[in-house]
């Protein structure tokens, strides 16, 4: 029995980690077609802001987390204006040279990867130079759950609930709000959306800020449990990437299903064999999934649905 509970908690832990790592990236990739290789660094910004707010400014933890989210969202806004859409450089260019100097990165997969990789180099080294090689760490709140001879951190199990709540909130945002409708229209066909009066530029800006806020939220949530070094984003990047791609184009459903599948595999192998095999199993599963379901899980489900509609 304890082993079953162990496995359950490890699965929840893994599920939460994957979903929270992927959330911001999924939204940005799904809606804007931009691959943000600096996603890990956005998580770092959220974690750092939260830690500084809590330890230096003395704010209580939930408030500090809110600060983390807001700081990252604002940072994301700046990045969107300067790097992704190029609005700021173009405004300057128009004034100085009389013409636009950069093109937006939307739907330019390779270029967005390269540009955001450059951004991540600047961010990691910049933080190292300004804030030093490490920050002191906030302790993990909420104690532990004990069962049999085992125990698990309550906070980390709670994160699974937070992850699910986040997914539900994102789903509601996309289906019940104006923003969500505009975003989905822009994803489907941005020319038509624009023709119908949707301010696609504003939608992209809001989407990027939202994705950044989610990344910041992940950073804020994990700040009490991981080491605060400038390179901490790297440990989230792999899981985020793999989950987004295995999930496919459907943002909410894809992330949930990918988190569930990959989390289960990781937890199972880690539990039965060891952490090394858990990692390898996760990576190999991703490769296999991509090979047999190249459009991801939700892409596959979409095609099934289409086929059934046509077949019936």
């Amino acid at each position: 029995m304890p082993n079953g509970l162990n496995l359950l908690f490890q699965f929840l832990d893994s599920f939460a980690f994957i979903v929270l790592a992927a959330a911001g990236l999924a939204i940005i990739f799904g809606i804007m077609g931009v691959i943000n290789l600096a996603h890990g660094e956005f998580i770092m910004v959220g974690a750092y802001a939260t830690t500084l707010a809590n330890l230096e400014a003395g704010l209580p933890l939930p408030l500090a987390m809110l600060v983390g989210v807001l700081v990252t969202a604002m940072f994301g806004l700046v990045v969107e204006r300067v790097v992704i859409s190029g609005t700021v450089p173009n405004a300057i260019g128009r004034r100085v040279l009389g013409r636009d100097v950069v093109e937006p990165l939307y739907d330019r997969l390779a270029d967005s990867m390269v540009a955001t990789w450059g951004l991540s180099l600047v961010m990691v080294q910049g933080v190292r130079l300004t804030l030093g090689n490490s920050l002191d760490q906030i302790g993990t709140p909420l104690g532990k759950i004990a069962y049999g001879g085992f125990s698990y951190s309550s906070y980390r199990v709670l994160l699974a609930g937070v992850a699910l709540g986040l997914l539900a909130a994102t789903y509601l945002a996309f289906t019940r709000t104006d923003y969500g409708m505009r975003a989905r229209a822009t994803v489907q066909d941005d020319d038509t959306a624009r023709a119908l009066g949707v301010d696609t530029e504003r939608t992209y800006m809001t989407t990027f800020a939202l994705g950044s806020a989610l990344a910041g939220f992940t950073g804020a949530l994990y700040a009490p449990t991981i080491t605060m070094v400038p390179g901490l984003g790297g440990s989230f990047l792999v899981e985020a990437f793999v989950a987004v791609v295995v999930g496919g184009p459907g943002v909410v459903l894809g992330t949930t299903l990918a988190g569930g599948l990959l989390g289960a595999i990781n937890a199972l192998f880690s539990n039965l064999v060891g952490t090394f095999f858990g990692r390898i199993a996760l990576l190999v599963t991703a490769i296999v999934m991509l090979r047999f379901l190249p459009d991801g899980i939700t892409g596959f489900l979409d095609r099934l649905r289409q086929r059934r509609q046509e077949g019936a």
């Binding site: 540009a115 791609v245 991509l290």
Partner: protein, 379 residues
Amino acid sequence: MATETETTSGPGPVDGGPDGPVASLRTYVEGPNTVGQSRPFWAGFVVAVLALAAYPAIVGGYQASRFSLFMVYAFLGLSLSLVWGYAGILSFGQVVFFGVAGYTFGVVAVNFATPAGITAAFFAGIVGGALMAAVLGYFMFYGGVRDVYVTIITLVSTLVLHTFMAQTAGDEWTVGKAALGGFNGMPTIPNLAFGVEGAAVRFGSVSFYYLVLVLLVGTYLGLRALVNSDYGRVMVAVREDEDRTRMFGYDVERVKLVVFTVGGALAGLSGVLYAAWGNYVSPQVFELAFASLPVIWASVGGRKTLLGAAAATIGIEFFRNSLGGEWALVAVGVLLLVFVLGLPGGIVPWVHDRYLGFRTDAGGPAPPESAENPEVTDS
């Protein structure tokens, strides 16, 4: 193909004119898929190669050895340019073939440390890289994986290899006399040597430099010939629109697999030379930071041009290497951002366009490229 509009008078052209031997060679390496078709270009190219040949004499063995590493990387940059710029496959995994080739070379060379053995190791390494590419390519392309998912799979392969190789530390991970060494890597890989005992050429710092230079020039010209051939046009067609190319009856999967394998061999050559240069290979070559370097080189230089990829590799690595200190990484990141945003096609195409504009503005005859052989592209 490449016709010359000769308007300059004077003594007969050095290369024997439009029907001379050089011109017929030039028909192989010139075409719409590469930059630089005119005589001034080739003159400049010869000057550059001569300057590179004179470099060790000017700066000495240590600097030459340092520079030869940048030239070794140029093969890696060229391999990505080939598969990405010419066939549309953005691969983060070129370092996988680089590393596999390096380790293969190391294992064979450490076990058979004679010149014949090292020669065999040289080819074994390249074959190893090509084979790995063929396997991965088959898995991906014949499985119908496309676009960004190819990129992700190549990225994940890099990570798998890194995690795996880093833990091959124990004695059980030894092939013959060569210990894989895990995270610490495999040191004491011998220098490159060709031939058999008694009639061998061993490559030290300066001779290694010249070997790499010769290989690089040869590879560059060979790749130019490849991409400007009929097969090269098929590659570019695949890059531009896979479905349309398939409808014309071309076996798109086979084309991608072949190109990917050739790219793997090139990356493998780079890996073998790298292992011989530093006498060392380690899992650090599979790290994300190194895996993204080829993408940076090709992006900044111009992935659709071979010259851009090679020149940018050497230039960026030289710059990165000379810039010490804490701000180096920040500078590289900013450089990358500025180039990708401002010159998304890369430097060399931009320079090329300026040059064409310059030539036309100056009132001279329109250079061959702009009039008769516009580059086949949709951007």
